[in-house]
């Protein structure tokens, strides 16, 4: 380790200490299930907006998109746009879901159906699957990134990093619950926005705040003719092969579809809807998130193109062929320009710490969502028929966080040298194919029933998984030299589906399964409960408030008893 690495390490430790302090504070202020699962519903709109942005802007988007822009130019920007535009759908659904649910997506889905346990189980399966895949992508990335930032080489360093990150996230969740996790997100969002604003200002400053000049320099430095145009990475045109060209273009549209429809169904985003006192605060928080996420992704333009112009294509690919370190290298170059080698190390250490905070915050948000679903939906409502003691259920949630964390750590250690970046897009595709149909049809389709929910979730989930398993990302993609670009080594080839992104097919399949499941079953929808759900979701009548039961002074439910038990 050099001095710069020690500085980075020091900043990591500072971040860990601060967040540990926050977690202890959160633990002392967590008294009941509403505190644990929803932070006592006490966060304001702007606070939750910051936390939503913190949950959403993963290292994949901070480092990944900057890297894609740096290496493939304009195409990386397409990713940012999908990530942002998706929030409009979230804005339309957030109030309804906040009003209708208590802690999880399953609360919304099971409100009006007759066979609650089946619906809850399906929702748990999809929540946990999406979370674990997304988690795996983040943790493998974390292993590579953090060991690089600390100047450690080799598989062992990566494994140790993954274990430390895993231990931290489990601690935040099982100890601090939603309160702890939310504050970690808020701190991270502030750090990330701050770091990105500093970098952007410095980059633009180098080009006299002239965007056009920066783009020109970037295009020159990239050595690619079409750097500022579409088609370097997605929807690539294959000369003399119109079929391959059209498949590539459809693949690109498929990715865009999953990005724009997936966000509203991501479990760690949905579980944030319930941390605010009412639907209006939920709306405010999504508006804040739209503002933050939008400004952030606009700035990734400057980071990406700036990295190409100032760092150069060769130096970026020399450090990491997929470009994930471009933003960090940019920080180093910018710092050096201002303050010499020391300045370079300082800015790199700071941005490195921001990246570390980003990773920790996102993975803990995911573990929070998955363990809430396991404890509240599966243990509480399926195994215990909705009548567990509150303290018992929260105890299960704390243990679930550990189990999911352990599972993710083991998988990530095994896959630590694989390129699993495709899992992010897969998680979005699964959320869009399995969760979105169930949510939208539950809220708006009068006839929707239990069979429809279950068929939609399993149909969407399994079709997206199967299509990816049979796609070139898993087997059969080789580069010009014959080396494998897939998960399996070269020579193993069972790919039957030509596209890398399943969304274009799996999302319609999800909706179709939900529709057919409803139509083909004999079960009749419960009209009264549908009307009840409509009234509750649109007006906020009887929604869950901070006290746990609702605005009404009714008899408290089984859940809100026993708050003194732990």
């Amino acid at each position: 380790m050099t001095g710069g690495h020690l500085l980075t390490f020091g900043l990591f430790v500072v971040f860990i200490l601060i967040t540990l302090g926050v977690t202890f504070w959160a633990r002392a202020n967590t008294r009941n299930a509403t505190d644990f699962y929803a932070g006592g519903r006490a966060f304001s709109g702007p606070q939750n907006g910051l936390a939503l942005a913190g949950d959403y802007m993963s290292a994949a988007s901070f480092l990944g998109i900057a890297g894609i822009i740096a290496l493939s130019g304009y195409d990386g920007f397409l990713y940012s746009i999908g990530f942002l535009v998706a929030w409009l759908l979230t804005l339309l659904l957030v109030e309804l879901m906040r009003n209708a649910g208590r802690f999880t997506m399953a609360d919304v889905l099971s409100h009006r159906v007759r066979r609650q346990p089946k619906v809850r189980t399906a929702a748990v399966v999809s929540t946990v699957t999406v979370s674990v895949f997304y988690l795996l992508a983040q943790m493998v990335g974390a292993g590579a990134l953090v060991s690089l930032l600390l100047g450690l080489e080799g598989g062992t360093a990566r494994a140790v990093t993954i274990i430390v990150v895993g231990a931290m996230m489990v601690f935040y969740v099982s100890f601090g619950g939603m309160k702890g996790t939310t504050w970690v997100q808020i701190i991270k969002a502030v750090l990330l926005m701050g770091g990105t604003i500093v970098l952007t200002a410095l980059v633009l400053g180098r080009f006299g705040f002239n965007l056009s000049d920066m783009l020109g320099e970037a295009a020159k430095a990239s050595g690619q003719e079409n750097f500022l145009n579409a088609g370097n990475r997605y929807g690539r045109e294959v000369e003399g092969d119109p079929v391959a060209t059209i498949i590539n273009k459809l693949d690109f549209i498929s990715l865009a579809l999953a990005l724009v429809l997936g966000t509203a169904g991501l479990p760690h985003i949905v579980s944030r809807f319930f941390t605010v006192p009412d639907a209006r605060a939920a709306r405010t928080s999504v508006n804040w998130a739209i503002g933050l996420v939008g400004v952030f992704y606009l700035m990734t333009l400057a980071l990406g193109f700036g990295a190409t112009a100032l760092v150069g294509h060769e130096r970026i690919t020399a450090q990491d062929p997929s470009g994930n370190t471009a933003a960090l290298q940019l920080a180093h170059v910018l710092g050096e320009h201002i303050g010499g080698p020391v300045g370079g190390d300082l800015l790199l250490a700071f941005i490195g710490a921001v990246a570390f905070a980003t990773i920790l915050a996102v993975v803990s948000g995911l573990v929070m969502a998955a363990s809430t679903s396991l404890a509240h939906d599966y243990f509480g409502h399926v195994l215990m028929f909705g009548r567990p003691r509150e303290s018992q259920e929260v105890g299960v949630a704390r243990v679930s966080a550990f189990v999911i964390g352990l599972f993710a750590v083991v998988l990530a250690v095994v896959a630590r040298n694989q390129n699993v970046a495709f899992l992010v897009a897969l998680a979005f595709a699964m959320a869009a194919s399995a969760n979105l149909p169930a949510i939208v049809l539950s809220l708006f389709w009068k006839r929707f029933n239990s069979t429809g929910v279950v068929a939609g979730i399993y149909g969407g989930l399994s079709s997206s998984l199967l299509l990816v398993f049979l796609s070139p990302v898993v087997s059969g993609k080789v580069d010009a030299k014959g080396d494998s670009l897939s998960l399996f080594p070269a020579g193993v080839d069972f790919h039957l589906f030509p596209m890398e992104n399943p969304g274009l097919f799996s999302i319609p399949i999800g909706f179709l399964c939900a529709y057919l499941g409803t139509r083909l079953s004999r079960e009749k929808a419960d009209q009264e409960r549908y009307d009840d759900l409509a009234v509750r979701s649109l007006t906020g009548t009887g929604s869950h408030t901070a006290e746990g039961t609702g605005r009404q002074n009714g008899v408290p439910s089984a859940h809100s008893n026993g708050s003194r038990a732990w």
Binding site: D213, G216, L228, A230, F252, A256, V260, V286, L538, Q552
Partner: protein
């Protein structure tokens, strides 16, 4: 969920139907405009690359310009939704919510009175917290 109060009765209320229609109209107009405009942009990026590559200002080409416009349109639509919701949806839902909760409180009150009356009519003893009595009469 056993004893949960149902608000289904309100679904036939004229004002609730108005609220529902307004929300649906708003939601559909926003979904159609943002998804439509987003996919126009995506399809242009995939199939109209010569058009997208035309320079607009300096090195900024049509593709980048339209991409930035996607950001602007997202902010605009979020703002429009919020403004409409504040003006046209919130007052209505507030009114309905207050009435529904008042109605619910009244119903519960009536139920409580009816239960009390039944108890008096049948000369049953008032319900007592049995466990509490036993513990106070026991060790202490």
């Amino acid at each position: 969920m056993g004893g949960r109060h149902s608000y289904a009765g309100l679904a036939q209320d004229r004002r609730f139907r108005l609220l529902k229609t307004r929300f649906k109209r708003l939601a559909i107009s926003i979904v159609v405009s943002f998804l439509g405009w987003y996919f126009v942009y995506i399809i242009l990026s995939a199939f109209a690359r010569d058009f997208m590559a035309r320079p607009a200002f300096g090195h900024i080409n049509v593709a980048l310009l339209l991409g930035i416009l996607q950001f602007v349109s997202t902010f605009y639509l979020a703002w429009r939704y919020t403004r409409y919701a504040r003006r046209m949806l919130d007052p209505l839902s507030q009114q309905l919510r207050d009435e529904a909760e008042q109605h619910r409180a009244e119903m519960e009150n009536i139920e409580r009175i009816m239960a009390e009356r039944r108890r008096i009519e049948t000369w049953a003893a008032p319900p007592r917290p049995a466990r509490h009595r036993r513990s106070s009469g026991g060790l202490r």
